[in-house]
Amino acid sequence: MSRNLVARAVAIDLGGTWLKCAIVNENGHVESVSRTATSTRGREAVLDQLCGSIREATESAGGADSIDAIGVGSPGMISDSGFLNGAAVNIAGWNDFDLGGELSTRIGRRVLALNDANAAAMGELVFGAGRGCESIALISAGTGIGVGIVVHGRPYAGTGGVAGEIGHLQMIPEGRLCSCGNRGCIEAYASARGVIESAREYEHCFSDSESRLAREVRMEAAGGAAQSACGGPALSAERVYRFLVEDDPLAWKAHESVCGALAYAAAVLAVSVAPQRVLFGGGVMGSADVILPLVRSKFSKLILPHVAASVGLESAGLRSDAGLIGVAAAAFAA
């Protein structure tokens, strides 16, 4: 136990653009946080950055005796042992090596390495909307779909670190073309891009007078000049949400498609891992209070009633720094 009598961890949230480093205590309180741009010079440079951040944070906290745990959340398929399988596409050279082992050796004490989605799920379990549960899943729907799973109070990564990789599961055979090249993936419908594609797919169902969003979609399709003339910003998921709040029928239609995909993702999790709660986060859930009831409704039709009744679908509780808090929670639990 650190001198402060409250356990503290150095937690790092490594992303393709930013590296965030924080001191987080066992109550989930972020005592300090710093941010630097992630190096683009390859694996060694990023490892040096990580180690430098850990040492700096440890020093600022009062030395090694003041830190009880160290953890790093990273994109990529990281197994339970901390090995990064395959490649994290947004960091150069970040592939196929023992991330946890490498950091532990360089720092001279154990450093937990885990996937960032699993870290976020762990944060929700301990400090967020998953409190009181033993097993949860967190679906983050934004640019892509990320899923973190916690079972029996521990992050679950699976054999190759790919447990929860649900974004590119085929939901609709011969469905919408996905960024991965396949068709009908969950991500093609449930991501931010999926929201926009759904709006475009269904615009023909509504006249200009019925749906302002339909009018905007048609103007966007007609060309950039027309869009500029309209004075509106480019079509985005956020923009579609604003129409949703205004009760625009095309916005509802587009979100029905999103909700169907999220419900399917939750159903797959419900019948495999059967978590006590499935939490939803990420930019697509911007209007969670509007979207969640529809997700729940669709979810209840996909599986048996007693299963649907036992798995709670809720909005994620943590907002900013969720990744850092989750890394700390996982490091304390390791």
Binding site: R154, T159, I166, Q170, V271, A274, Q276, S310
Partner: protein, 459 residues
């Protein structure tokens, strides 16, 4: 995570390390910690146990003394300690869901020799006395196996019985009768596990404290309470006078032993298979800690499919005991089927290659999301899936060539226990519950005190 034990230091507490609170529960928990540690690391000496479970040596000595007297633990021939004293800092006792301690084997956490040349005295659970009955039931019959804690099979029996009617009583009677016949063969059964084709609420923490069948298609049951012990009273050997019989069951009015019956624990059949596979040794001689067991079994007119999921050495039941629920995306609502093929078509599964191919293709296609999400190290195939493994392998290389399943095909294998997978798994379920460390007083489905009491009866 911190160690589970209470009474970890020499300050305060009674001889068994209990401090305040419910002393009987704390004693019970510490005893369970010691037994679980020995199950996972046979040959550990007393000093090693102290470091593993976090209890002081005097407490360990007292507990071990009780367990030896109860015949649950025995000392094994001492081996020279080559590990060095106190070398046990890496390990901790795995609670349910925890990880195996690193290392292992006799002498790992060595006894510090009091004088030169003193041999350490390792301890082990007396596996051969902990015989559990594993019962696989269907609508019209059962398969029973008696296995000890090492996995050795001592007794087998198949029989006919109608488990769709008076299910709880029928199971209890079957356990009692089979145990009696095993007893007549010199094998004392200390508990039973029963594999149910359907959803099972395992009991223990529910309001009634009893297991119940939530839903079983094969048995046609909903919300059916189960017995936590076999039929009370007494049973004699089948050949004794004064016996009466009902189909498949023999019962007598005079008997050898009377009492509360044998404790019975329950779980879904696929979950039981997963338990069995976790301790079966695998094909490489070591058991996986993460696995997905896919079971498809024919019961009457019904071809049922279920999954048992194990993560980090523990089977996950999930919320509402629904982990492993299977319904095909193409399911059309036939209550007697879980795929697009109706029950009537599926009844031709065994002798119609086209039906078999259609079923297996649909099943494997729907397996992709589950395997993809779970990423298990092993996918074990049981029941008719095991029987038709060659058909499945053919589909991997034809229908599913280039798919995700084909990429992970090397993780697929058949159940090590073969056709014993369910019954042996059910026996394994009992052993698992027996060695589970209770977290609170009502948590223990099976009590060591009961087992010790049964062993005293035959001593």
């Amino acid at each position: 995570m911190s160690r589970l034990s209470a009474g970890t230091s020499a300050t305060g507490g009674d001889a068994n390390g209990a401090r305040g609170g419910s002393k009987p529960f704390q004693r019970s928990m510490n005893r369970a910690l010691v037994l679980r540690a020995l199950r996972e690391r046979p040959g550990t000496p007393r000093s090693g146990l102290a470091e593993l479970v976090g209890l002081d040596r005097s407490t360990i000595s007292n507990i071990v003394g009780e367990l030896i007297e109860a015949r649950l633990v025995s000392e094994i021939d001492g081996e020279e300690d080559t590990t060095g004293a106190g070398d046990a800092g890496r390990g901790r006792v795995a609670s349910a869901g925890g990880r195996d301690p690193a290392g292992g084997g006799p002498g790992h956490a060595g006894d510090r020799p009091r004088r030169a040349g003193r041999r350490s005295i390792g301890l082990r659970v007396v596996d051969e006395l902990l015989c559990a009955l594993g019962l696989e039931i269907g609508a019209s019959g059962y398969r029973a196996i008696v296995r000890d804690n090492s996995g050795a099979v001592h007794f087998r029996e198949n029989g006919a019985a109608d488990f769709a009617t008076d299910t709880a009583q029928r199971i209890a009677e079957t356990v009692e009768a089979v145990s009696a016949r095993a007893g007549a063969a010199g094998i004392r059964v200390v508990g039973a596990g029963c594999a149910i084709p359907g959803y099972v609420a395992s009991g223990g923490r529910n309001a009634a404290g009893r297991a119940r069948i939530v839903h079983s298609r094969e048995l046609g049951l909903f919300d059916t309470q189960l017995c936590d012990r076999s039929a009370p009273g007494s049973l004699d050997t089948p050949s004794s006078p004064g016996t009466t019989s009902s189909p498949g069951i023999t019962r007598s009015r005079s008997g050898i032993s009377a009492g509360a019956g044998i404790p019975i624990v329950y779980d879904n059949d696929a979950n039981c298979c997963a338990w069995g596979e976790l301790h079966a040794g695998g094909q490489e001689g070591c058991s996986p800690r993460d696995l997905l067991f896919a079971l498809a079994r024919v019961g009457g007119e019904h071809l049922g499919i279920g999954f048992g999921l194990a993560i980090d050495g523990t089977v996950c039941s999930g919320a509402a005991h629904s982990a492993g629920e299977f319904y095909s995306r193409e399911w059309r609502g036939d209550e007697r089927s879980q795929v697009s093929l109706g029950a009537q078509v599926l009844s031709r599964f065994r002798f119609n290659a086209d039906v078999r191919r259609a079923f297996l293709t649909e099943f494997l296609g729907n397996l992709i999301p589950v395997v993809s999400v779970l990423d298990p190290s092993v996918v074990v195939l049981g029941g008719v899936l095991r029987e038709h493994i060659s058909d499945i392998q053919h589909l991997f290389s034809t229908e599913f060539t280039g798919s995700y399943l084909a990429r992970v095909a090397d993780r697929f294998r058949t159940a090590v226990l073969g056709e014993d997978e369910i019954a042996a798994g059910a026996a394994g379920l009992f052993h698992e519950r027996l060695f589970r460390v209770p977290r609170y007083e009502t948590d223990a489905a099976v009590r060591w005190e009961d087992v010790a009491s049964m062993l005293r009866e035959v001593a």
